[in-house]
């Protein structure tokens, strides 16, 4: 078992299989309400993000991604955690609002280059504590 340290952006715990994307996806316009990537220009088009630990280098695209993510969290079609090499406020906000409205927590963490060690299919647990600002990703 190995544990990677990360920065906590939103609180919570999530466990699931890693889906590592070749490039960032915009949740608005790029992911449908079933949690599937529909962006025709995206190399991972057709991939389902439901129940995964989503790993990507950063955020992307329209600021409406916060709403789409919050809705995916509400319906249970979204990732269980998001690991970003570089943090993204838009995604963090979607998770924060789902937390405020429904009490559903979905950790968003910033891993830096350590995120490179996570491969699609790896089963990981993400734990994120915004009080001390620290998060961990355990393989």
């Amino acid at each position: 078992m190995s544990e990677l340290a990360a920065v906590a952006l939103t609180r919570g715990e999530g466990r699931g299989p890693v889906v590592r994307l070749a490039e960032p996806v915009s949740f608005w316009g790029g992911v449908d309400l079933h949690g599937t990537i529909v962006d025709h220009f995206h190399p991972d088009v057709g991939t389902s993000l439901t129940g995964c630990v989503l790993v990507m280098s950063g955020g992307r695209g329209s600021s409406s991604a916060s709403s789409v993510l919050a809705e995916l969290i509400r319906t249970g079609k979204g990732p269980v955690a998001i690991v970003l090499e570089e943090g993204d406020a838009i995604l963090a906000l979607g998770a924060m609002v789902a937390d405020e409205l429904y009490g559903i927590v979905m950790p968003v963490v910033e891993s830096g280059r350590l995120g490179d060690r996570l491969m699609t299919g790896d089963m990981v647990t993400v734990v994120s504590d915004i009080i001390n600002g620290r998060a961990s990703i355990t393989l």
Partner: protein, 409 residues
């Protein structure tokens, strides 16, 4: 505000603002003097729950606040159909737009609030959402907004605060790289579609970085910059670009670059032509529809369209639908200038308050659409399941009349 002494609505809004400050590593908040809200577009129940919770808690905006597009055209009922993905689109979408107006935001319902009177000045701190509006405010007006999104936008309007981070800071506004288009044939810049193509290239290079473009003509106008910024923002994470000698923060290259020897990318005509081809997903020459006005058409763009239609005596062909999306404020001005009725008589359909790639407006069975917008070309295939051709205004009008497309390279 956090302790509830200004009400629970303000406290909730302040929790979101301070939560974002934590994420952005900002130790302070900045006072913002205007807001532009994107949260009024329906993406599902969560967004409506958030707005209705704020209304229920008594929250109201405390700064001048405009609204971006909603899910319905409230001036032309029946324009938008419900769809399978959102069977409650028409009712919930309407409720969402109403909730934001109930909190005191102006019912502008446009992605181009800068075309009416929301024009913050050089250096003015605001909280704007929606990717093209953010880029326009920062780049063309020289105002200062970070890339705000849904939820934060209304919270900034309620509290009058945003994190002091990102584009609010001088150092984040300097260019990390340069694009040189001096070698591009001057005639390209006669049509904003080529600015959109340039924007798409900028977005691909930039990621979230700031670029400075050298070599654009001094005739570059706001409509051109709007098209460039919108395409750049949809193709990447662009929130600010500089056009040397054109945009207000960049009188010279030296004024905006972050270091002495920045990376320089030279683009020539062949690069623009190839990029335009890359944005076209259709093969063959048949088209079912054209869509203009993404971001919302300005008064000058509607005038240019009217003039081109008159010049060519174009009538939209049978079996083709031709849409022009704009803000209700601009539509009123265009109508007063006698531009609207002749275009409608020629077969054009005006859409306000919303946009043709966001919600079901195009007729069912539409397969191929031509547009002069890089942003529309980027999003529509995924959103609508259609193929797209990107062309100039002249090419789009010709295609509307012929039902077929032939591009001038």
């Amino acid at each position: 505000m956090l302790d509830g002494s200004e009400g629970e609505g303000v406290a909730l809004a302040m929790r979101i603002v301070t939560g974002l400050a934590r994420v952005r590593g900002a130790e302070e908040l900045v006072e913002v003097t205007g807001a532009h809200i994107d949260s009024c577009l329906y993406h599902g129940r969560a967004g409506l729950d958030f707005a209705e919770k704020l209304v229920e808690l008594g929250a109201r905006v405390r700064i001048p606040t405009t609204l971006n597009v909603g899910s319905l055209d409230l001036i032309h009922p029946g324009t938008v159909r419900a769809d399978e993905e959102h069977p409650d689109l028409l009712t919930a979408g309407r409720a969402l737009m109403d909730a934001y107006v109930a909190m005191g935001a102006r019912a502008t319902f446009t992605c181009a609030p800068y075309q009416v009177d929301a024009r913050p000045g050089l250096g003015e701190h605001v909280a704007w959402a929606e990717s093209n509006a953010i880029v326009f405010a920062n780049s063309v007006l020289g105002a200062r907004t970070d890339r705000y999104g849904d939820f934060l936008d209304i919270c900034a309007a309620i509290t009058g605060r945003a994190p002091r981070a990102g584009f609010h800071l001088d150092e984040a506004r300097r260019a990390a790289f340069v694009i040189d288009v001096s070698a591009v044939a001057p005639h390209r810049w006669d049509d904003s579609a080529w600015y959109a193509v340039l924007g798409h290239l900028l977005g691909g290079l930039a990621g979230q970085r700031v670029g400075a473009i050298v070599g654009l003509p001094s005739s570059t106008n706001e409509d051109d910059l709007k098209a460039l910024g919108a395409a750049a923002a949809s193709g990447g994470g662009v929130g600010l670009f500089h056009a040397v000698g054109v945009t207000p923060e960049a009188p010279t290259l030296e004024a905006v670059v972050a270091q002495e020897d920045p990376e320089v990318h030279v683009f020539v005509d062949a690069d623009l032509v190839a990029a335009r081809r890359g944005l076209c997903t259709a093969d063959g020459s048949r088209i079912d529809a054209i869509s203009l006005g993404t971001p919302h058409a300005s008064l000058t763009e509607i005038k240019a369209l009217a003039e081109e239609v008159e010049r060519t005596a174009t009538v939209v062909a049978d079996g083709v639908t031709a849409y022009v999306s704009t803000g209700r404020g601009v539509l009123a001005l265009a109508d007063a200038a006698d531009l609207v009725e002749p275009l409608k008589a020629a077969g054009f359909t005006f859409v306000v308050d919303t946009c043709t790639y966001l919600v079901p407006i195009l007729p069912e069975g539409t397969r191929v659409v031509m547009t002069n917008s890089g942003k529309w070309a980027h999003y529509a295939p995924g959103n609508l399941g259609i193929d797209v051709v990107l062309g100039s205004l002249v090419e789009c009008v010709a295609a509307a009349g012929a039902g077929r497309v032939a591009l001038d390279v």
